[in-house]
């Protein structure tokens, strides 16, 4: 199948700094990709290039279109939520729905109203009267009512409480996602999304630090929890990363012999957050 997003040598400079540095990406349809990186790693810059909000060097094709040139046409098939508070504050909910319906060919008013009926948002509300969580619900309802092929979420749950955050991803997964659709998420709340992701994309200093499916991650990486006595032996097997927790030594290995490791202690699949920290540290040393 043709990739939804395909980049070759994607580069973005701001003066002398390389915000995105010759990245190659291929994202096939039907995936939920987590784009994860530290602050200033180039996540948002990469997303902006993909959404046609920024110029770039290199080749980039999103659903077969060049985003820098065809933003308007591309937006018929791409939706994005760029953090929570970007809905215009002066607008009323019914005006927002009217407007989206008239501008977006694939928007369904019924679907949108159906989603909103499960919330406290009413058509007469002005956006500025809504709480942060309700604005996020409204934006998600608008976006889920659009039959798009790519959904881009940039820190969609920033500043929301834990109930809204859980519900946000539950709705997304249960009511929206299917094999035809692709979701690209950036977030710092990795723990929240790791169970819904199918693919991981770590980015650091404008470069891709890791590109793998979740299955590959489970196959490749393993975490060993060893006692202090076995630490020396575990260290000799070249872990990527070591940390100490309550006197226990935790090692993270890439492509290690599991049978050998199992003799030294308990084995786990590392969490995305731990893998992220290990990858970032490894690249720095």
């Amino acid at each position: 199948m043709n990739p939804v997003i395909s980049a070759r040598g994607l580069t973005k400079r701001y003066g002398r700094t390389m915000a995105v540095d010759h990245i190659d990406i291929d994202i096939p349809p039907g995936r939920i990709v987590g784009l994860i990186g530290p602050n200033g790693a180039g996540k948002t810059t990469a997303l902006k290039a993909i959404l046609g909000l920024a110029t770039f060097e290199g080749e980039l094709s999103v659903l077969g279109k060049n985003p820098a040139r065809d933003r308007a046409a591309l937006m018929e098939d791409v939706c994005f939520i760029a953090d929570v508070a970007v809905l215009p504050r002066w607008i009323r909910v019914w005006q927002l729905i009217d407007l989206t319906e008239q501008i977006h060919p694939r928007f369904s008013r019924e679907t949108c109203l159906e989603y909103l009926s499960h919330t406290k948002v009413t058509p007469e509300h002005k956006v500025k009267q809504l709480s942060k969580g309700m604005v996020a619900q409204l934006h998600l309802a608008l976006v889920m009512a659009i039959d798009a092929r790519l959904l881009v979420l940039d820190e969609p749950t920033l500043g929301l409480d834990i109930l809204y955050r859980k519900q946000f991803y539950t709705n997304l997964l249960n009511d929206y996602f299917d094999e035809q659709r692709t979701i690209l998420i950036t977030t710092h709340q990795v723990e929240e999304v790791e169970h819904i992701l199918t693919d991981l994309l770590f980015i650091q200093d404008g470069k891709i630090a890791l590109e793998a499916t979740m299955e590959e991650v489970q196959e490749r990486y393993v975490e060993l929890m060893a006692s202090a006595q076995q630490a020396e032996q575990a260290r000799s097997l070249k872990p990527m990363f070591e940390r100490v927790l309550f006197g226990r030594h935790i090692f993270l290995y890439d492509n290690a012999d599991r049978a050998q490791l199992a003799e030294l202690g308990e084995l786990h699949t590392p969490s995305v957050a731990d893998l992220f920290v290990a990858t970032m540290q490894e690249d720095q040393s």
């Binding site: 909000l53 994005f80 970007v86 215009p88």
Partner: protein, 315 residues
């Protein structure tokens, strides 16, 4: 087309106060003044004797004279609307490409499949047509209400409003003339509109300062350098802008002296154009060299504004 209409509605929703409430308030002020004048007259004038006499005297004057008075006062009363409208358009355009950058809602607008060209066009069209149409409609409404009140007053002193002033006036001609002057002004003012949109697209903050300071500084420097070179004060940018204002095809001057109505296009200080309120004079301005240069300047400003809008969400 459907998208353009949706975007125009958006401009109206966002700026209801400026587009609709402002002219309604002006109409309200006119009507309030009329009612105040009536109550004052009723209060000091026994049995409306003076008013009755005035109606009587007026009825004795020729129909052309009464028609002329009506026509001139309709055009004259539009000036207040026109001047306020200029301010409304000025501030509307100054915020048009700035406000959504400031509150970051540009990220929502850019997530809709509407091109930047369409967006910029919808804002320019709002300034050129939508705002004038609102002001025009409310001017007409105000004239009608005032005519009704006037008619009741004349009926109250046993006069006949129909023969006195209604039948001799030509409202459609007056309204048509105001409408024509508005749309001629929309084209005449394009360089200013383009400049305001350009500032709105690039100003990092306080667009008002960015809109007014550079031309001012430029004009002062120009005057100073010119003075150093020639020891004379000649035309500079401010002079150019003044000339542009004086020659405007909008009805901006309304005064009455020696019984003659002084209704004029622009401000009749220079002699570049005939300032009488006629369609021919409006068209004359639109086919002038000044206008041609203005259109080129406007095209440069608007293209740059569009280019900036295209990149507006980068940082």
């Amino acid at each position: 087309m459907k998208r353009m209409i949706a975007l125009l509605r958006r401009e109206f929703w966002e700026n209801k106060g400026a587009f609709r409430t402002t002219p309604l308030v002006i109409g309200g002020i006119y009507i309030a003044f009329l009612l105040m004048a009536i109550f004052t007259t009723a209060h000091i004038d026994d049995d409306l004797y003076t008013f009755r006499e005035a109606v009587h005297v007026l009825a004795g004057r020729p129909a052309e004279f009464r028609g002329m008075i009506m026509y001139q006062s309709m055009l004259g009363s539009s000036v207040f609307f026109t001047v306020v409208m200029s301010f409304v358009i000025f501030f509307y355009l100054l915020g048009s490409l700035y406000d959504d950058r400031k509150d970051r809602s540009i990220l929502f607008w850019k997530s809709l499949p509407a091109s930047d060209t369409l967006t910029v066009a919808s804002k320019l069209l709002s300034a050129m047509f939508i705002i004038p149409v609102f002001f025009l409609a409310i001017t007409v409404l105000t004239h009608i209400i005032m005519a009704v009140i006037g008619s009741l007053m004349v009926l109250g002193v046993d006069g006949n409003p129909w023969t006195l002033f209604l039948s001799v006036s030509s409202p459609l001609k007056a309204w048509g003339m105001i409408a024509a002057s508005y749309f001629a002004q929309s084209i005449w003012a394009l360089p200013l509109y383009g400049w305001l949109m350009l500032v709105s697209a690039f100003a990092p903050r306080v667009p008002l300062l960015f809109a007014t300071l550079p031309p001012l500084v430029f004009a002062v420097l120009q005057t100073w350098i010119e003075f150093l070179r020639t020891f004379t004060l000649k035309n500079n940018l401010m002079g150019l802008i003044g000339e542009w204002l004086f020659n405007s095809p909008a009805i901006l001057t309304a005064e009455v002296h020696d019984g003659e109505g002084g209704i004029a296009l622009g401000i009749p200080l220079t002699k570049d154009f005939d300032h009488a309120v006629t369609l021919a004079n409006m068209i004359d301005r639109l086919f002038s060299t000044q206008m041609l240069i203005g259109l080129i300047v406007a095209a440069v400003f608007l293209t740059t504004a569009l280019w900036l809008r295209h990149r507006a969400a980068e940082s």
